[in-house]
């Protein structure tokens, strides 16, 4: 979330789409209700089905799953046509005025300029700003420079660079300025086209669009709208681009950085934000540092590739905060390898594995199926159930030598070898050794978790783990220490990183999480002095924050964005101050949020270019002329002494300093502007460009399990979701939750039920090209048949919570078919998230 849960109460308008917070984040949704109760805020719910969020909405629109870019592109079109935009914000805080290189082509035929149909990749040279200064490699690269990973951009060719001085036109009239290109791009997204694609009748659509953009009626800048989404947007083969469209719309309306505004991703799980921050993902290192690639010959080369230089109009200023990348990276290497990380060996840069291709989730299972991966450790992660394509994942696991599962309940992944359909005879042929280790539940361990609002909060252990169960960190530590002992004793392949990993925890086999938290925060390894203030930090002391990090090895820090969480003043993440002086729900003294305890990101943009809040009623930060500094109720997300007349951009993490309506040089792999593509399985050809129906960068795998259905055989659009009563694959072990939703069901429209002669609560089969799911029919008026490009299309939905281990399952009251055996293993080319929303099925009586 750019903002936070409580901040939703400050909004005037909510567009909730690709998310169902009433059901999946009920306690956060209270703030949406507060906005309705206290500010008469409006709520627009757009969803494939009428959910319990829709039940509280002022307007509900039923959308075909996977057509969100068409919907949002249409909103951009409407806002531009009707002048419902934030002109000053747009000119000063976005790249609307930047001029794009000659030769850049919009995807009228579904493809941007530079597509090579042979390799299936884009040449990115025209996806750039026109500008001057610097030359070639000397110019440096962008903050999110593309990586050498297939599916993103070409591996061998060096990525293009952003020009240091960008040409621009503040009148926004230049035919190649971003604003004009944006206008042109979405001129095709008329209400009529949106209706053909999304199935939302034009009059309903216009009503919703008029309501949403009404916050910028008559040039008013006081009102604020928020966009709230969740995995309904991410789980598509164009998920990143849906979110980008929302971000662009919010920039266009001047809603980013403001109380009650923003683009708010509702993360699904209690510490999924923290897991992302800590880089439990193949392509990043803690704090969103890039994973090294083989082309990075040494640390210097890596830093050169990943450290951006500013790219902006000559007269403007850009903080370009990622220019500090070397400090963050060296401090991380010092945290990991301590004394073994020296200046001479590039701070042990070579200890880190280098990635040159896609090792993401769907690739794990494909490569495992193809025999590459021999062993797997799964801690609190039920990979069989999560899918996609459960059957493929089960068959992949059959080929492994060993599997370690750390869990608190018996789960499907640890019992893949006796999944339904695998006979005792077949079990004898499965040679995987499976270890199932009993772990600790949440109440049995301490440690910090980071919520969707980036609040890092410590929790305390209340009870010991049951029986012989052990703390998760102890198990990983004990495995690691035993591996280290083996390398000490026997030697082996490149043992250096294992032998030199810092492990100075007081009790090495039971590392205290408080010590690890202090390592994450970072400390001084030599005496540090701030020349400006004269403040001194002695060697061994905890750092006050990431501003103190150094690239010379005199600081260590496990995750730079978490620096400040556990300082010399103690654990900031344990703070419990309930004061909220501004009344905006900032709660500056409650726990701690990254970065630097800021609660709303980009909050400089809550002020006009002169540094005055757009809305004096909702003052977050402001420029204090007398003291020549930025001050505020929140921590300013900005260079504190940057005078507004210097025109530094508020989006300090971009080398441009401004928000990107146009995403240059392939930072988004599939195009500088989002374009509507159909889901991989779709009932129609893309009405915008039937010859390029899908995202051209999406990769399909080749195992026998990777089958796709055509609309002739599978005519129904299906989407998956979660229910408020259950939590993923966890609460099916909890009787209280099981009784609320005792059995799996499939929500189907009344009309489809009548057509098929299906009665409510009758068992039915949902069949995709990959498998058959059996559950009871939930015949409902909350899903209606839709007209898609002149064709009647049914849409159905099913929750994912039941599997083959659980209270109901063990009692034989369930067909024991995991929902994800229906879903295809195809993923978004940017975020690598699989497309589990919007695939094709057919329905039969069971």
């Amino acid at each position: 979330m750019t903002n936070g849960w409580i901040d939703i109460k400050n909004t005037d308008m909510m567009l909730i789409m690709g998310g169902n917070p009433a059901e999946n984040h009920p306690c956060g949704f209270k703030w949406a209700m507060e906005a309705k109760r206290n500010r008469n805020a409006k709520l627009i719910s757009v969803d494939p089905r009428f959910t319990r969020t829709s039940a509280t909405a002022d307007l509900f629109l039923q959308i075909r799953a996977g057509t969100d870019i068409a919907f949002l592109g249409g909103v951009i079109h409407y806002a531009l046509e009707n002048n419902r935009i934030a002109k000053d914000y747009l000119v000063n805080y976005t790249n609307a005025a930047f001029i794009v290189k000659e030769g850049f082509k919009l995807p009228e035929d579904g493809l941007y300029s530079g597509f090579d149909s042979q390799s299936g990749k884009y040449d990115l040279s025209t996806w750039n700003y026109e500008g001057t200064g610097g030359s070639g490699g000397e110019a440096g690269t962008a903050g999110h420079a593309p990586e050498a990973i297939p599916g993103k951009v070409g591996g061998a060719t060096p990525p293009p660079h952003l020009p240091p001085n960008v040409n621009y036109d503040l009148t926004l009239q230049h035919p190649r300025c971003v604003f004009q290109l944006l206008k042109q791009q979405y001129s095709r997204y008329t209400p009529e086209t949106v209706e053909r694609i999304t199935g939302i009748p034009k009059d309903q659509y216009l009503k919703a669009v008029d309501l949403f953009t009404s916050v910028r009626k008559d040039g008013d800048m006081k009102k604020v709208a928020t966009i709230i989404y969740a995995v309904g947007w991410t789980q598509h083969t164009f998920g990143t681009q849906i979110i980008r469209t929302a971000a662009m719309l919010q920039l266009l309306l001047g809603n980013v950085g403001r109380a009650g505004g923003g683009v708010n991703a509702l993360r699904g799980h209690s510490n999924i934000q923290g897991a992302t921050d800590m880089a439990g993902l193949f392509d990043s290192l803690p704090g969103y540092l890039k994973a090294p690639t083989p082309a990075d010959a040494d640390l210097a080369a890596f830093l050169k590739r990943t450290t951006p230089t500013a790219s902006k109009p000559n007269e403007w200023d850009s903080f370009n905060y990622y220019s500090n990348t070397p400090k963050f990276m060296v401090s991380l290497l010092k945290a990991m390898y301590g004394p073994a990380a020296t200046k001479d060996n590039g701070f042990a840069f070579d200890y880190l594995p280098k990635v040159d291709r896609d090792y993401s989730w769907t690739h794990i299972w494909d490569d495992m199926y193809n025999g590459k991966i021999k062993g797997m450790m799964a801690f609190g992660m039920n990979g069989v159930m999560i899918g996609p394509d459960t059957n493929k994942n089960i068959n992949a696991l059959k080929k492994t030598d060993w599997l370690v599962v750390g869990e608190i309940y018996p789960d499907e992944t640890s019992e893949f070898w006796r999944a339904p359909g695998i006979s005792a005879e077949e079990q004898k042929t499965i040679n995987t050794t499976v270890y199932r280790l009993p772990c600790a539940g949440f109440a049995e361990k301490d440690g910090s978790m980071t919520n969707s609002a980036r609040w890092v909060t410590w929790k305390f252990a209340a009870v010991p783990p049951p029986g012989d169960a052990r703390l998760d960190q102890d198990i990983v530590a004990q495995i690691f220490l035993r591996v280290r002992d083996l390398y000490k004793k026997e030697g082996g392949k490149f043992p250096d990183p294992i032998l030199n990993l810092t492990w100075n925890y007081a009790d090495s086999a039971h590392p205290a999480l408080s010590q690890i938290a202090m390592e994450l925060n970072g400390k001084a390894l030599a005496e540090l002095k701030d020349e400006k203030t004269g403040q001194v930090i002695k060697a061994g002391q905890q750092l006050p924050g990431f501003a103190w990090l150094k690239d010379d090895g005199t600081t260590m820090c496990g995750n730079w964005i978490y620096s400040g969480m556990w300082t010399e003043a103690g654990p900031q993440i344990q703070r419990r101050g309930t004061d909220d002086p501004s009344g905006l729900g900032i709660f500056p003294n409650w726990s701690w949020s990254w970065p630097a305890n800021r609660r709303v990101l980009y909050n400089r943009a809550s002020c006009d270019p002169a540094g005055k809040p757009w809305d004096p009623e909702r003052k977050q930060v402001w420029w204090n002329e007398a003291q020549q500094t930025w001050a505020g109720n929140d921590v300013p997300d900005f260079k504190p002494d940057s005078n507004p007349k210097d025109h530094m951009g508020p989006f300090i993490m971009n080398p441009e300093g401004v928000g990107r309506l146009f995403a240059p040089i392939g930072v988004i792999a599939d195009g500088p502007f989002p374009e509507h593509y159909e889901p991989i399985e779709s009932p129609i050809k893309n009405p915008l460009h039937p010859n390029q129906s899908n995202n051209p960068l999406v990769k399909k795998f080749n195992t026998p399990f990777d089958k796709f259905g055509s609309p002739e055989d599978y005519s129904i659009v299906c989407t998956t979701y979660r229910l408020t009563e259950q939590y993923h694959y966890w609460t099916k072990n909890n009787a209280m939750n099981v009784q609320l939703i005792p059995e799996p069901f499939v929500e189907i429209p009344v009309e489809l039920a009548q057509e098929k002669g299906i009665r409510g609560a009758e068992p039915i089969k949902v069949i995709s090209a990959r498998g058959t799911y059996i559950a009871k029919a939930f015949v409902t008026k909350r899903l209606k048949p839709m007209m898609i490009d002149g064709k009647k299309v049914y849409q159905i939905g099913l929750p994912i919570h039941q599997g083959f281990r659980g209270i109901t399952e063990d009692a034989g009251r369930d067909a024991r078919t995991p929902a994800n055996l229906l879903t295809p293993a195809v993923a978004d080319p940017n975020a690598h998230t699989p497309e589990t929303k919007g695939f094709l099925v057919k329905v039969e009586k069971a």
Partner: protein
């Protein structure tokens, strides 16, 4: 409101009068008020493990922590001080007591041997030793020091680690530290899906 109050008062008066005549005594009824079950419990502040709202929860345990006493969970409810949830919890958070006291919890290490059709128990020591041996054996067999072009890559492609969604930041960092140092690149998390 006035009507209601008057009606209520009248009803109460009538009831009381009737009680007098029939010799009812309401004192025993008062005595039967249930004791507040958390009256002598200890409060521990925790965070709900489910969604990313991160609600503050209070875990109520009984047992004073003396050396022969194991704390017992008797109740969980929302932390009223927490600014986000202000004491509220959803249907999953409200059932957390049952998550802790659940008879389905795994309580001992188990192993399923190749070709076996069931689990067997294994000691922690044996399990950890075997896992360490598998890890080393697989790493040594699949480790790549240089790619085809001679670039240093130092990666292990034979092992994958997948992590869950409710592990702490500190655990996740420990995993990144240990697994990256073993050269793992097939590292993914619930955060992806």
């Amino acid at each position: 409101m006035d009507t209601t109050r008057r009606d209520f008062f009248k009803t109460a008066t009538i009831g009381a009068a009737a009680a007098t005549i029939f010799g009812f005594d309401l004192q025993p009824a008062y005595a039967q008020l249930k004791e507040l079950k958390i009256a002598r419990a200890k409060e521990t502040r925790s965070t709900c493990p489910y969604c990313a709202v991160g609600c503050g929860v209070l875990i109520y345990t009984i047992g004073d922590g003396a050396k022969n006493v194991t704390p017992q969970v008797i109740h969980v409810e929302g932390d009223p001080d927490h600014p986000t949830n202000r004491g509220t919890l959803c249907p999953k958070g409200s059932s957390l007591e049952q998550d802790m006291l659940n008879p389905r919890r795994l309580t001992k290490p188990q192993v399923r041997r190749p070709g076996a059709t069931d689990w067997q128990d294994i000691s922690w020591d044996d399990a950890l030793s075997e896992i360490a041996q598998w890890t080393k054996k697989t790493r040594d067999a699949t480790f790549i020091e240089k790619d085809a072009k001679g670039n240093t890559v130092n990666r292990c492609e034979g092992i994958s680690f997948i992590g869950g969604c409710t592990d702490t930041n500190e655990f996740n960092y420990l995993v990144v530290k240990t697994m990256r140092s073993m050269g793992l690149v097939y590292m993914e998390n619930q955060a992806r899906v």
